[in-house]
Amino acid sequence: MKKLNIIMILAFALTQLCAAFPEGEELLRKIDANMLSNTMKAKTTMIVQTRRASRTMVSNNWSQGTDKAFSEYTAPAREKGTKMLKDGDNLWIYDPNTDRVIQISGNMLKQSVMGSDLSYEDMMEETKMQESYAAVVTDETVYEKRDCWILDLTAKKADVTYQNVKLYVDKERFLPLYQELYAKSGKLLKTYKVQEVMQSGQRWYPKKVLYKDELKSGKGTIFIVDRVEFDVKIPAHIFTKAALRK
């Protein structure tokens, strides 16, 4: 009898333990719900730190789902008026000085955006995490004074750029505060560190992020979201090539 009791207590404790870690899939769904929206409008600042100097670029951005996005750079003067349009797998850039719309495709997408640690491809990768990854919560930790779940993500499809990702997700806010992006071999390629957060309605969004290529020596690239609005009405013509020239 005593033995049975012990077994039952242990079993109960075990179920409680497992219940303590949430379902990975469920967490991903919540992250997507927090981070993604039907439409988004934001003003962002990107600070690129290269060996020679630090450059600050300001842009206005609109996006619809994960397929369409439009950006217009407003500062500095050299970049002012440059526009980018992403539609599915296509990317076009418009430069007002030359009045040219140039398509960036194929291997050009591997090039870095404005000298940052992101490539055009990285920038174009906006998918629902749920669709691309299978997730398992493996641990918990405190990151930047916030309680976080540690998730291990494994790509579901063969064409997901980063096949393995490690995520620290804020337990309360479902906001990824830290990401490690790995190569198929397990080598750490890039990191994504949230340094400041902000609230917009019910959502918590990263305000300041340091994005770094871990293979390169360098200081990385800083993204700052100055202002963001979710699920606003965005006219359809914004996501057309005609809008690039306006």
Partner: protein, 392 residues
């Protein structure tokens, strides 16, 4: 009769004839040797490129363009099944190309990654070093050339990260360990390149049994391997190098001309004096019934005989010299291997093709004949009586 006479006259001149023979011999040797160097260089470059790069013939995937790095990731195709046996017998070797980024000392360096089977011996690349002997370390053995090592500041034993994308667009990266720095004389397997094992690269790129280039040990029987592959002959592959060597050869032609001119001077001088010295003899010969034409022929023949004797002299006394450079070769110092041309790291073994030697001998012969004939114009103007009296 005239030939016999000419010969006797030459022998009669003693050591003075010998000097002429030696001079002609030196000129001939110089010309043959210089051409031998260029021909040898061309052959060496060809042999080296065959040994290190394209065997006796190779096929490239139809989309591959060696100057357009953006084609490298898409230019691979499955190895035709008809070649599997050849590859197994080590008579052909598949090589897969992939573009990648190397990170030596944290700097991004675009490279061309080449996957070659570790067990192959078709090409001189020491691919045996690519066999993974220690699977626990997680490091992938890689080979780089000495120029690549220099520009990326890597040495044997160094660990360096390589990043690439597979065919699905997925990032992958691995830590390579430089198993060996190859001293290859062929810069096109060295500069901005990294060699790893064929199967490893296929796996890394989520491919199976794909290659960009198929190199054959012996000339392939058929130049048709299907729509995916294009045949490149050795001549086509060597076109650029051959053109460059020929360009250098052209510079040597001026020296040839000067050497020929030298031999002309020597013979001309000899004949002028000979004619003067033997004017009484000429007069006698004319009086005895020889025509002027015959006498002109006699002197011209002497010049030609000098040349023939010079050739024999070259062939005998010069033989050790030619032999030495044909076997030991003309050494190229280590520092010059940095030049982006094949054929500049080993000693260049002179190659004396029968055609080249014959042509050179004939050219010198023609020039010598001309130079000995030229002064004979005086003979045509000689009056036999004046000649006899020595009044010319």
């Amino acid at each position: 009769m005239i030939t016999g006479l000419a010969f006797k006259n030459i022998l009669g001149n003693g050591w003075r004839s010998l000097i002429n023979v030696v001079i002609l011999s030196i000129v001939l040797t110089g010309m043959i040797w210089m051409q031998g160097i260029y021909d040898g260089w061309g052959r060496l470059a060809r042999r080296q490129m065959q040994e290190w790069e394209f065997g006796s013939g190779h096929f490239v995937q139809k989309d591959y363009d060696k100057y357009d790095s953006f084609t490298w990731d898409d230019s691979q195709a499955e190895i035709p099944s008809s070649l599997q046996q050849l590859i197994k017998d080590d008579k052909a070797v598949p090589i897969l190309y992939s573009s990648g980024v190397l990170y030596p000392q944290g700097r991004m360096t675009p490279v061309l990654v080449k996957g070659i089977p570790a067990g192959q011996t078709v090409l001189s690349i020491p691919s045996a070093e690519l066999k993974e002997t220690d699977t626990t370390s997680g490091f992938v053995p890689a080979l780089i050339g000495s120029q690549m090592a220099k520009s990326s500041r890597l040495q044997e034993g160094d660990i360096v990260t390589l990043r690439w994308k597979d065919v699905n667009g997925v990032y992958n990266a691995a830590d390579l360990i430089i198993a060996r720095v190859i001293a290859t004389p062929v810069p096109t397997v060295d500069v901005s390149q990294v060699w790893i094992d064929f199967d490893r690269l296929n796996e890394a790129r989520a491919l199976e049994n794909n290659a960009t280039i198929l190199v054959f040990k012996n000339k392939p029987e058929s130049t048709d391997l299907g729509a995916d592959w294009r045949y490149v002959s050795t001549d086509e592959a060597m076109a650029g190098t051959d053109a460059m060597i020929n360009a250098k050869r052209a510079g040597g032609y001026v020296l040839f001309t000067l050497l020929l001119f030298l031999s002309m001077i020597a013979i001309f001088d000899t004949q002028i004096l000979a004619i003067f010295k033997r004017r009484k003899e000429i007069g006698t010969l004319i009086a005895l019934g020889l025509t002027k034409q015959q006498i002109i022929r006699l002197f011209t023949l002497e010049g030609i005989l000098y040349m023939i004797m010079g050739t024999i002299f070259t062939g005998t006394v010069g033989l050790p010299f030619f032999y030495y450079f044909a076997t030991k070769g003309y050494p190229i110092p280590q520092e010059m291997t940095g030049y982006n041309i094949a054929g500049m790291s080993e000693a260049i073994q002179c190659y004396y093709s029968p055609g080249m030697v014959t042509t050179t001998v004939l050219i010198v012969l023609a020039v010598t004949a001309f130079a000995s004939w030229l002064p004979t114009a005086r003979i045509a103007r000689m009056k036999a009586t004046d000649a006899l009296l020595g009044k010319v």
